[in-house]
Amino acid sequence: MKTGNWDINVGRFFPIVLCLWTAILCLSAGRPLEAATLVPIDVEIIFLSQKVDLPPALSNIDSVPDDAGLMGARIAIGDNNTTGRFLKHKYSLIEETLAADANVAEAFARLASEGGKVFILDLPASSLDIVRNHAKAGQSLLFNTRATDDRFRSKDCHDFLLHTIPSRAMRTDSLAQYLITKRWKDWLLIVGSRPEDELFAQAIRKSAKKFGADIIKEKKWTGEHDARRTAQTEVPLFTQGIDYDVLMVADEIGDFGDYLMYRTWTPRLVAGTQGLVAKAWGRPIEQWGAAQLQERFLKESNRWMLSRDYAAWAAVRTIGEAVTRTKSGSTEEIRKFIASDKFQLAAFKGRKLSFRTWNGQLRMPVAVMSARSVVAQPPLKGYLHQRTELDTLGLDKPESSCGK
């Protein structure tokens, strides 16, 4: 396990500048006024993704698109290049998708030996662990755009691992802030049988404690029946005799959560992984110019933008922003700038985003959404923090051993 403060320089860095022409070549003569001397920079970003074998979920109305994450990265590359055109900066994306049973360590080593320095890691947690253990400090800049596991933000850290996808804790904290603001404090927690469901449940329990909700009762959903057919008879009995405000569900793959809604014994709301959800991105987000990004994404991809796409977009834009501001393609310069208080990213969330220095998490508002509307966008008014109220969501510095 590697732990370390990613904002302290402990390693060697290699430039990702692949070409440096003389400045004279960049200027075209004959214009009335001439641009300042520009040094060309080529930035190569590797998008490393992996397929995952998922068991069939009972709710099969939305399948995960094959290009989830990738389309977000591609659109951000386009954005970076549109900007880069004016500065002679060029960005390219090397795309690699691994099979579910691929040797991740080997793939990563190969890409690194071919000169890969900046990685967008659209990987499941187990594969992120492999990369984390193989990446040498100082040699690469890694962006986790998929794994929401809190352990990567609390103990399983890496000096140069940044996270642009919100953690489970950020998502459940966001939900908790909203539910507590509404005074819906008594929760019934229903947890699915997969390991990720338990991790989401842990995050819910922690958020409940942090913001003052009570988990009245916890129940396990074992999924012995096809809920599509039997929910009407099963769910009322399953929720009978319990007095609660909100049914919190932990069902990450969408196996049964959707079938809890409207079927509870008493008329109660469902929140968590289904019903009212808190996510980095979703279809209803349109404020703060987000409609423009949604429109661009839809046009390019023929589907709606997912949180994984948003995280990959934000990662590639982070690199673009750092290169633009530092006018440098060196990994070290980029990393230093991202860690500095000068870094800010406008990312359609109504305020500038920056990275937490202790664990590399991109701090951001996390929208609380129903299927067709944004209900709230925590951090909400009244939740204060000495640093920034964005740090009321997710693991705060004292809760994380990263960077110590």
């Binding site: 009335p32 549109t82 900007t83 423009q292 834009r317 990213l345 109504g350 500038k352």
Partner: protein
């Protein structure tokens, strides 16, 4: 239709009765309407239906024609201010957000936010005169008083692009803070002011060498700095003040245009984006999107004197003598 005609008729009556009254035109983004305000009475005298999602709005230099972006109709509408009828729809390119008119009234430069281009329209023959590739999500537009330089700001590229109006080519780019929304030249064309909404700053450039000469931060007691988001900029002709609309901070910053110091914050309606002076520069109107109203500021006293209810999400405002 009947309603509109009748309203227009009523307006004509009112207008004839007070021919000297200053008139303000406010685009209501989520109502697809234009509110017409009589500034003597300080009230809305008529509301007309315009194209979908009206945003940027300006008058022609002779004050006879009102232009507005009907973003979702992919056009700029040309409205006769006497009849309040749409005379023409101009070839603006897709999704125009806002625009600038050259001082000679011959050209419109508009930003097409989903296509990363600026479109040039020749107003004499109402034809497309060119398109210029700019950064991601272009928005703010300005033309220098001599008409030689056109500025576009791109929100995701975070630049002000300097465009030569003869060659229609970009000759320089200035990086500013995150999400630049608006650009404004001073009356002499010596300075360019650019607001960065998410960055929370306004940058001032010397037009001659395009160097940044000031970056103005804002701080309002009791409001988190991330909510202080500068958008609209208006500079008084006498060079004394800059007024900066601070979005969800619900205030207008009054800046000493000589020292670049903020001297005062004036409380207005919610989510204030754009502004316009009355032609005598004695009053300043602000569009407050979330509260759906317009605040009238007395420029001598630097005080908000009146709030006028308009439609849903007022975006821009233009004022006719």
């Amino acid at each position: 239709m009947i309603k509109t005609t009748f309203s227009a008729f009523l307006f004509l009556l009112t207008f004839t009765a007070a021919a000297t009254a200053q008139t303000a035109y406010v685009t209501n983004e989520k109502d697809d309407t234009l509110s017409v305000i009589d500034l003597t009475k300080m009230e809305v005298i008529t509301t007309i239906e315009v194209g979908q999602r009206p945003r940027g709005v300006y008058l022609s230099p002779d004050n006879k024609t009102l232009y507005l972006c009907a973003s979702d109709d992919d056009t700029i509408q040309e409205i006769d201010v006497e009849t309040l009828k749409v005379r023409h729809e101009l070839p603006s390119g897709a999704n125009p957000e806002t625009f600038a008119i050259s001082a000679d009234g011959k050209r419109i430069y508009t930003s097409n936010e989903s296509d990363n281009v600026v479109t040039v329209i020749d107003l004499e023959n109402r034809k497309l005169a060119g398109q210029i590739d700019v950064g991601v999500e272009p928005e703010g537009m300005a033309v220098s008083p001599d008409g030689k330089i056109v500025i576009n700001t791109s929100e995701t590229t975070n630049m002000a692009h300097w465009i030569d109006s003869d060659s229609l080519e970009i000759f320089d780019n200035s990086l500013v803070d995150q999400r630049p929304r608006h650009a404004e030249f001073d009356s002499e064309g010596k300075q360019l002011w650019v607001s960065a909404e998410i960055g929370g700053t306004v940058s001032v450039f010397d037009v001659k060498n395009r160097q940044e000469i000031a970056k103005i931060p804002f701080a309002i007691k009791g409001i988190h700095k991330d909510r202080v988001q500068p958008v609209g900029i208006r500079l008084s002709k006498n060079g004394r003040y800059a007024f900066i609309a601070l979005g969800p901070a619900n205030h207008i910053a009054v800046v000493d245009a000589k020292t670049f110091e903020v001297t005062k914050y004036i409380l207005v309606g919610r989510r204030v984006w754009h502004m316009a002076f009355t032609p005598d520069q004695k009053k300043l109107l602000t569009t407050n999107g979330v509260s759906g109203d317009v605040t009238v500021i007395d420029v001598d006293d630097l005080k908000a004197v009146k709030s006028i209810k308009v439609g849903r999400f007022p975006w821009g405002v233009a004022i006719r003598p």
